[in-house]
């Protein structure tokens, strides 16, 4: 495998997927955000957003807290330390890959 392609293959596939990349990029800027905010900012459907968040949660990249605001259910999401480190590493690798390409 050529060195350039190897660089791309080394990227964290979990974050590299566009919807999850958008989610981690947003969560990297904020402290926490609720489901509605993430849905609006990413343009994902409820089902898609749930599925991507579940994958990120499974990997320990995000933490999901279910709570209530008054009587309205509220789902708060935030990037974990592991997720923040993975996102930072992804960005660095991708930047490096682009500079070599």
């Amino acid at each position: 495998m050529p060195a350039d392609a190897r660089g791309l293959a080394d990227l964290d596939r979990l974050i590299h997927e566009p919807a999850r990349l958008a989610l981690t990029a947003i969560l990297n800027v904020v402290d926490s955000a609720d489901f509605l905010y993430l849905q609006r900012e990413t343009g994902l459907t409820k089902g898609n957003l749930s599925s991507h968040l579940a994958k990120l949660e499974e990997a320990g990249y995000v933490a999901i807290e279910k709570t209530y605001r008054g009587r309205i259910p509220l789902t708060l999401v935030h990037l974990t330390d592991k997720g923040a480190a993975a996102y930072k590493a992804y960005r660095a690798r991708f930047k490096e890959f682009l500079s070599r390409a």
């Binding site: 800027v29 904020v30 609720d34 993430l38 609006r40 579940a54 509220l74």
Partner: protein
Amino acid sequence: MIDIKKLEKRTVQSFFDDGLTEIAAGLMFLILGGYFILQLSTAGSTAGSIVSSVFLIVFFVSFFLVNRLLRFFKRHVSYPRTGYVAFKKKEASPKRRVATAVVAGIISAALVILFRISPSVKLLFPAVNGLLFAFAALLLAHRVGVTRFYVLSAASAAIGVGLAAAGIGDLKGLGFFYLLFGAVILFAGLAALIVYLGRNPRPAPDAQGGPDAR
């Protein structure tokens, strides 16, 4: 391909979509402007000395109340429409704190020296304030990419320099500056809020909770 930088910037911008921050800042400026005018109109009297001595109380109490108001409206107007988001609180680095203190010290020292040389320099107070707030608004506009902050920056410079050029200096000029600039910020915030409310109707309650289907 996702433009990560654009997405991150857009996320920060979203905080200002509803115009509530400007409404709060506008109210704060109006209170300060009113305070300076009151201070001027009561100068020389017992009431005047009382008014002069309570500046810090007025400042902190209004800051606290305006902040509470901002949180209240964010909770009841913005979050139900576009979702809840809490931004990271960035602690200023020691280098940045020192740089800010040095710049503030230089500006204050320059003003004191200028005032000693020529007391009429007081007439420039509105211009100095106008240019300082213009610079701050410009930095914010550049950082978050919200176009209306460039307009606010220009407005601040124009009002400050205009008042100084008109010879309305000192406390009166300062009072007018805060009142006028406060009104401009408030108006900008209200306009942004109207647009925001038009674009983001309140969704049905079940749309806010999130992935209960998870």
